[in-house]
């Protein structure tokens, strides 16, 4: 309402005390929101088993199992208890680091997750870095020479790659880099312990596949951001005053764009985690994604729940951190 906007614009002496209170209240609200989301996410993970026809044990043991066996398994894992009770039990266990036991391997879920996590993490982080490394220079160069041959070619490529699913990119890369040329191995994994070079050799093609899938999003966002920043008055002023192009780009243009990049990177992280499922399957990498895949025919419900909850909680926390950093970094949010 315009009246209100005008009132606020005319305020000349806000009491500092009430302003801090407001800030605390908004931080408290956000924390509450975060906790609520975490609770719901973990609750949904526990509720997964309620979605199926029949009890979890009947799915695990198959149609040939006897009723007693089913009842016994259900009781052992606690699947016969109501949702809320199961959730509280799970929560209690989770806090102490116990996420149940895998049905396939009888290993504790947490142990297996910790074994597989580094692979997926390395894959995801490297892919994120690589796609940024491709996207940022390309976008800045293309934006500063808008409509040039470079811009049109790269932008066309970006549009193209955006429409190719990761698994297709992966298969094609396998063919080009692995089968036809035999430069890289098409499957398998070498952990960091057997040497960095060895590790990178195995990880290069999968990381490239993921990165090629993600870079278009970064590229397009950054390019349009830089183009609109370059059109702004303060950049024209700097150019006219004789500041070198590179300096302007680095100091004045990249900084405002970095905000949106951070947000997009957080979303991309989620997408990369999902994309890694495909890549891990294709390249036979022992990560969380392939773990999830093999848990499906095995009906390893505790494992699946563990993976889903881990990924979801990580995603929530990453977003919360990004939100908080955003709020702290944005100079407009800072008040004296």
């Amino acid at each position: 309402m315009t009246v209100l906007q005008r009132e606020r614009a005319r305020v000349s002496n806000i009491r500092p005390r009430s302003h801090t209170l407001h800030r605390l209240r908004s931080i408290g609200g956000r924390a509450l929101h975060l906790v609520a989301v975490l609770v719901l996410v973990t609750l949904a993970g526990t509720a997964l088993t309620d979605l199926m026809p029949g009890s979890p044990a009947s799915i695990i043991l198959g149609p040939t199992a006897s009723d007693e066996a089913i009842a016994a398994l259900n009781a052992e894992y606690g699947y016969d208890q109501p949702l809320l009770l199961r959730y509280l039990q799970w929560l209690g266990n989770a806090i102490t680091g116990d996420l149940g036991v895998s049905i396939q391997s009888n290993q504790p879920v947490v142990e297996v997750l910790l074994q597989r996590l580094p692979v997926t993490l390395e894959l995801t982080v490297l892919a994120l870095l690589l796609s940024l490394a491709i996207a940022i220079p390309a976008a800045v160069y293309a934006a500063s020479r808008e409509n040039s041959m470079f811009d049109r070619i790269v932008s066309g490529l970006a549009s193209g790659f955006m429409s190719v699913p990761v698994f297709v990119i992966g298969v094609l890369l396998v063919y080009v880099l692995g089968v036809a040329t035999r430069w890289f191995p098409v499957a398998g994994w070498a952990p960091l312990s057997s040497g960095l070079a060895e590790n990178l050799h195995f990880v290069f093609v999968p990381v490239l596949a993921l990165a090629l899938g993600e870079f278009p999003a970064f590229y397009r966002l950054l390019r349009s951001d830089v183009i609109s920043t370059l059109r702004e008055d303060f950049v024209q002023t700097a150019t006219v005053r004789g500041m070198p192009r590179g300096y302007i780009l680095r100091r004045h243009v990249l900084r405002p764009s970095s905000f949106s990049l951070i947000t997009v990177a957080a979303v991309a992280f989620g997408r990369l985690l999902a994309g890694s499922v495909v890549v891990e399957s294709l390249f036979a990498l022992p990560g969380l994604g392939s773990l999830a895949l093999q848990s499906i025919p095995a009906k390893d419900i505790p494992m699946i729940q563990g993976i889903v909850v881990l990924v979801a909680v990580t995603y929530v926390l990453i977003n919360a951190v990004v939100d908080a950093t955003y709020a702290l970094l944005d100079p407009r949010m800072r008040r004296i």
């Binding site: 309402m1 199926m52 409509n147 955006m162 699913p165 298969v171 979801a312 977003n319």
Partner: protein
Amino acid sequence: MTVTLEDPATRPARTSRPPRFTLTRRVGFMLAVAWIALLTLLALVADLLPIPAIDEPVGGPSIPPFSGEGPLLGTDAIGRDIASRLIHGVRISLAVGVGATAIAVVVGVLLGLLAAYTRGAVERIINVLTDTVLSFPPLLLLLALATVVTPGVPTLVIALGFLFVPPFVRLTRAAALSQLGRDYITAARSLGAGHARILFRELLPNSIQPIISYSVVVVALIIVIEGSLSFLGVGVPAPAPSWGSMIASGKDNLTRAPYLVIAPSLMIFLTVFAFNTIGDHLRRRIATGGES
């Protein structure tokens, strides 16, 4: 010798961008629409076409396309007609893509409008729920679902529709919030309009524009997810010819029969690219203030 100063007012204005660029865009848009229209047609009449069934072998295994020895587009490893499988694959992709998007749009827009209009507790609940669903990467959640439920087109449509509700809630809420401060809403209230009337006749038509372009992009996203799931073997089960599962079965024969992968890959690429182009075009039209 007279020196004349050029009058800036009469200097011809420089064109802001070369016209060829925009022409390419328009042609691209037309082609994309044509492709989608063709696909829709194929999906609707697939059963009536004189093509072989998707699971009957019609010739020897792995006959290359355009070779004259077999069907036009060749046969796959079991001898089934590739062209026919591709065409039936259109049905799967479009059904899942459009179906799930439709669900997501209807539910998402309603919730977004509600959130913006009621504010207070209702809005906060919707926000929390939205953020919760957003925290699950779709692929992973569908994998989890595949453990407990046998996948099929209806399950995929519902699950994906549900997973894509949050972006539409957010978009609608933002658009509606920016409209709510404007006086035509106040005017409608002072004329006696009730809540339903304000929501659906005033707020909704003015908040829907960004939704339209985004929903096209979402169709593309969902087609890719469905393809990925089928590639992994947890999507639409065999013998249904999802493009993703065709690629999965073809990837082991890349050197001998690359067309087994190339044909469905091309289909996915062209379809997803077409939807993305249309979505881009619509978004650009809205941004420049064109009224549909």
